[in-house]
Symmetry: D2
Subunit: 452 residues, 4 copies
Amino acid sequence: MQEILHNEKLPMEKVFRDPVHDYIYVQDRVILDLINTKEFQRLRRIHQLGTTSLVFHGAEHTRFSHSLGCYEVARRITESFERKYPSKEAGDGLWDDNERLVTLCAALLHDIGHGAYSHTFEHIFNTDHEKITTEIITDSSTEVNQVLSQVSPSFPYQVASVISHDYPNPQVVQLISSQIDADRMDYLLRDSYYTGTNYGTFDLTRILRVMRPYKDGIAFQISGIHAVEDFIVSRFQMYLQVYFHSVSRSMEVILTNLLRRANELYQSERSGESVNRGFQPHYLLPFFNDKFTLDDYLKLDDGVLNTYFAQWEDDSDPILSDLAHRFLNRKPFKSARYEEESKDLLPQLRDLVKEAGFDPTYYTATNNSYDLPYDAYDPTSKKPRTQIELMQADGSLVELSTVSALVQAISGKVSGDERFFFPKEMLVNSEESIFGPTYEQFQAHIKNNQLI
Amino acid sequence: MQEILHNEKLPMEKVFRDPVHDYIYVQDRVILDLINTKEFQRLRRIHQLGTTSLVFHGAEHTRFSHSLGCYEVARRITESFERKYPSKEAGDGLWDDNERLVTLCAALLHDIGHGAYSHTFEHIFNTDHEKITTEIITDSSTEVNQVLSQVSPSFPYQVASVISHDYPNPQVVQLISSQIDADRMDYLLRDSYYTGTNYGTFDLTRILRVMRPYKDGIAFQISGIHAVEDFIVSRFQMYLQVYFHSVSRSMEVILTNLLRRANELYQSERSGESVNRGFQPHYLLPFFNDKFTLDDYLKLDDGVLNTYFAQWEDDSDPILSDLAHRFLNRKPFKSARYEEESKDLLPQLRDLVKEAGFDPTYYTATNNSYDLPYDAYDPTSKKPRTQIELMQADGSLVELSTVSALVQAISGKVSGDERFFFPKEMLVNSEESIFGPTYEQFQAHIKNNQLI
Amino acid sequence: MQEILHNEKLPMEKVFRDPVHDYIYVQDRVILDLINTKEFQRLRRIHQLGTTSLVFHGAEHTRFSHSLGCYEVARRITESFERKYPSKEAGDGLWDDNERLVTLCAALLHDIGHGAYSHTFEHIFNTDHEKITTEIITDSSTEVNQVLSQVSPSFPYQVASVISHDYPNPQVVQLISSQIDADRMDYLLRDSYYTGTNYGTFDLTRILRVMRPYKDGIAFQISGIHAVEDFIVSRFQMYLQVYFHSVSRSMEVILTNLLRRANELYQSERSGESVNRGFQPHYLLPFFNDKFTLDDYLKLDDGVLNTYFAQWEDDSDPILSDLAHRFLNRKPFKSARYEEESKDLLPQLRDLVKEAGFDPTYYTATNNSYDLPYDAYDPTSKKPRTQIELMQADGSLVELSTVSALVQAISGKVSGDERFFFPKEMLVNSEESIFGPTYEQFQAHIKNNQLI
Amino acid sequence: MQEILHNEKLPMEKVFRDPVHDYIYVQDRVILDLINTKEFQRLRRIHQLGTTSLVFHGAEHTRFSHSLGCYEVARRITESFERKYPSKEAGDGLWDDNERLVTLCAALLHDIGHGAYSHTFEHIFNTDHEKITTEIITDSSTEVNQVLSQVSPSFPYQVASVISHDYPNPQVVQLISSQIDADRMDYLLRDSYYTGTNYGTFDLTRILRVMRPYKDGIAFQISGIHAVEDFIVSRFQMYLQVYFHSVSRSMEVILTNLLRRANELYQSERSGESVNRGFQPHYLLPFFNDKFTLDDYLKLDDGVLNTYFAQWEDDSDPILSDLAHRFLNRKPFKSARYEEESKDLLPQLRDLVKEAGFDPTYYTATNNSYDLPYDAYDPTSKKPRTQIELMQADGSLVELSTVSALVQAISGKVSGDERFFFPKEMLVNSEESIFGPTYEQFQAHIKNNQLI
């Protein structure tokens, strides 16, 4: 039995001016109320692209903008589905407009659990933004939950299950999360717009036009194959050129080492092994203590962390202070690519870095871009993704890469690279320094930005 | 005697990807070094438009981007001047390329003294961003000063004097600061791009093309009159529609009252009149104490203030806590326009606000948009601005508004409005509240967003 | 009694890729059929801007594109009206969706009667594109009429009456023809796009959003006043900078004189006064004979006329041949502005042109841009236009120029100029020619592109 | 010995407003004079994309615009080369600014020999636009030649030799004609802009920035690899989606058959085999007679041909008349893809077309898109193209496809398709016609737009 949803329409449609989608249209009371919750407003204080804005200075947009944009794309899709493919009876594989609200809420909230410098932070403090997203939506203490609960008692759980891929209707799930979903469509266009690169642009209007529901999810009319191809290629290009940019990864490496150092210092302080630091980063303490609540998590944002970094610049620990300084004032490490065969060099290079006076634990790192969330189409992966299906004139489906040379080309290829990061100082003119011979040795191993 | 400038060119031109100007080109070592100073990097943490992004969510860009953009516009102008109007002898009214570097540095640094939520902050704490700009440039403790001093000992003072309008060459001064200067050209385009409105766009290429130096400053060939007109109209439209937006002003009102409340509480605490608050906003204390250094000033940014606001949300003072909550979670006051003749109503309305339980000192405000830095062309003003001069075919000059109907129209008109701000609660349904009669009385005075 | 319309929907919506509106959507069989008629396809061979592309080379678009664009704007408006303001009972001042089809057809066909170089051609040959539009729509010999008649026998007359302003519903009439209608909205954006100027851009999305039907026509919600203002200003700027461009008017002057010369020669030939010219411009003969049919009219297009001009380049009449050459190879006359007080100079200048060997009847002209179809808002004009009405929060209307300083400024001003056109040869260096003294005298009267 | 070039600079740089490049800058007298020749002005009457505008209605731009655009791209490249890579001594592999003028003239004139519906016309009448280009440049009867000769007597031959790839300096040749040259860069951007598709866009600014001369031609700094990749992918996408569009090819098929039919009829008339047709297409007769001069060729343009087609619509020959009608009023043939294995069906299908009353010689055709001028990178081709070379940090070169997965993918793949064209009538409902059984049989062989 279908539960009754209390879905109040706004007396007058409300719009938000948006540089990417022109306008974002809100017609439902619950959407407007969600936007006004403190958990959602908090996304204004969390940058969408973390350290990327330190390379592409225009990219200072936040998860707030992206979340609105993702919602808007989803809204346009459901509007188009309702107009063109309305379900007449259960199980006919068409679009059931009762799914509209849960879809829009899931689109709006899909990133609500993200925190400041998410990926890096999670790594150090064992948080999990996906779990937290679910918590924010289903925990009765949050404003988000209170708004959703007014629709129906089970509504928050439905929204959460869409985001966790457990919702029964695959159309709804794929709209929010698949190889070509509302999330990706917004972020490619938005990141492209804000970085000022044009690699991420594609024909959104056309894609929305050829998108259609079918029994097992979402498909695309084959007449739109080129628009879908272009989307995939655009995404590929954005990864290589923006998301995997070596300087942005370098700043992430510094951030990682900075948080790691802080964690160690404050934990040792707690255990009495160390001097009292004076300054206590109030909102971070629960994380150092590994005992944080949802409320603690929601207190953090980019500005809070940066404020603590500023305090640490004056800390007595030279490593903490120096790394904070490098991060705040954008002093990236240098880096060089390496291949499997030059991996053996790394210990030696770390030793040279140490000889030059830098603790390699905090002043070097390796990082490959493969483990970043890149998901160019790959049906053979261990965690196989939903395929992109094209619908032919006679209604039969065909998988994208079997008919697109371009997509096939991207699917099979390994992309990204593996890099070794080290202080810029290692590359200075060896004659000008007492570490001359050390520098010389080090530099002999780097050529054309590669280890040799 | 011309002082010798040490101006090293970069071995390879460096570029920054920019969504507004496509690329920003850096050819001089000193420019790159200035960008890398901590004072300049700090601008990444200060939004360009303050509370405006709470209305136009896309406008999350910072003073860092704008400063780079202003530099780039100035660079293009000097490049064009050097190519088309190179001075052959002193006093010929053409462009002396020795002025190039001081111009570029001034363009890059013109906003370096801005702080977090500048205009509001200055109002409460008696800081002055123009004075601080001069200080950052000329005080030997700053990295900016150290970079500039390498050009020549007097170079920092030259750069500062351009920004303070005291530099002898009016061409240089007007390039950086006049009715149509590098600063305005960048911010109109940039704010337009990031808000997603298109009112601020104009034909930059054409304006740069018709711009030219002359004896007393900068003029525009009359063939470009329409591009200049369009610039003025665009600027006018941006003020009315973006910069003077009533909700953004409402958030500024809340911010003002919040900082005012904090200032009073912490000052009384210091004088022993009050309880100890527990939380000490480290970086703000020097301002509460009215004894701050340049270094103190440079510690502040949007993130630091927001971090303190978050702490204050939990403060025991209900007004401080509530205003912090409203600001961080975007709960604007409502407002209504009023004219001279309805001004008498204000005391009465404030009394009603008080009756409803809100201290009117912190929960109401008046604010007119005229005192915002709007400077549409007005030759009759007390502080007359440099006119925009058009150069005719025979070399004679004519002032813009005498030949442009559009500009004349804007020049004479009063723009903006005067508004009364109050809590949204005053507009709730009077039947649902014990304050019913109070609300009713209040609401009787507001019609069509106006006091009556 | 409402006549029944046979309005078949297409089984699948069809789209046309459009650079201005992205896509143009066709949902009705009759619209698709109209586009496929020969009278409509013929618009592909008639440029939208006549001689303007000889100044703005990008502006080579045709009336075909504009007609599709005008249709699309109208379609979006009716879609929005139907969604937001559906009429519930006759006379409620809201939108009756039965008006949709007649509106769309009128929008698509509003320019169907335009011919090659319309304005100039009409002037010489006494044709009237508005009358011809009506004829094409209502004459049973045309494909257009046959398509429309399938909807209902009286449907063609309804469509024609919308275009001629006689249709009873003022909403429909104003949608197609008023100060801010589908026609103007498309051509401003389109001409702006193709010329590459950005003066004509405005916020179409927002205008469509604030547009609404009311009892006496179309109004705009006052919240959208700035978008409407911007539209008016954009239009004003396009007139001054594109449509009134002096070189484009100069080419029009040559075209006028060329057609006039041809008309006279062929008429005298017919009356036996003159030699037989050999070449007979087949499709023009009915116009020389002043006895043309609708079919004759529809045979003409830009290419046909240009083909005849090419033939005339080889004609034995030196004036016909020379003017054809100047037109085809873009050799504009020069021109100078004049004011009322310098008008007396004209006879003298014409005499000098004659002395220099040019027949002033064909080698000079005066032309003012006021009589071009410029219709900036002017309620005091002899032929008063429908006002632009803004709807306030309480439903009352207010006329635009009473609340907009910008629009008021434009309304009152005289724009455009009066010019005297003459051969470029009159400005050559007087020393290099036997006509030296004549040239010198002539040139003494021209300064800064003005008669003195 | 270097010949002295007479290269006069314009007293004031002249600009042309251009929607693609914003402005086109002319600094040399010879360039302005070339633009004003009748041979160049004639390009205003020849569409850039032939029948493509019958599918993408926005694409009505001409070879005039493209030629200006190609010139502008070349101008920017030479400006950048002169600024960044000026040759110091002969043979140093850098840029010799004496090559500037010949490069710009070649860029401007590279398409000057194109005629109306070039590719189709050449096929029927054995003309050759490349040979004609050379003739226009070197034949002393043309205005183009006269302008060029003023630079130096041999200058026209130098310009022609650049276009024919015989010029000694490979840098100049590759700038005008290679896998990534000024021509392609302009047409991709321009065709993209005018069709309204965004597939053809790429980062021109960045490509110009990384382009550099070297001893054997033009290379690209490897830092710009992604911009070069994006260019190649964009080009690939434009071919598949715009240039190879099946409806546009269908209209080309009709045009081919129309001209073929006319040629046969007029040739048989000439040989006395046939009735006199009455109407004589004056400017086409030399081509029917296979005896045309350069002057004859230059008389033709799109408008002239269309004028003759209009006359032929009334011809007594039913095939000529019908094909003319179909072409002018856009009645495309239908088409179906076929593979090698379904080729055997073609004779049978042609027989069915004949049975249905259409002469298959004029009412069917096969056409593959491979022989259209597509040149995605293919080093193994019989006519190997200049490779795209990337320059590494140490100055060594590497060929693009060896380092780019995307480009490699495109290089190896066969693109485009082979199609069979036939009258739309063959697909009508078989029950409604006396040809029912014929239609049925025919339709049995077409499924999902493919022959089976």
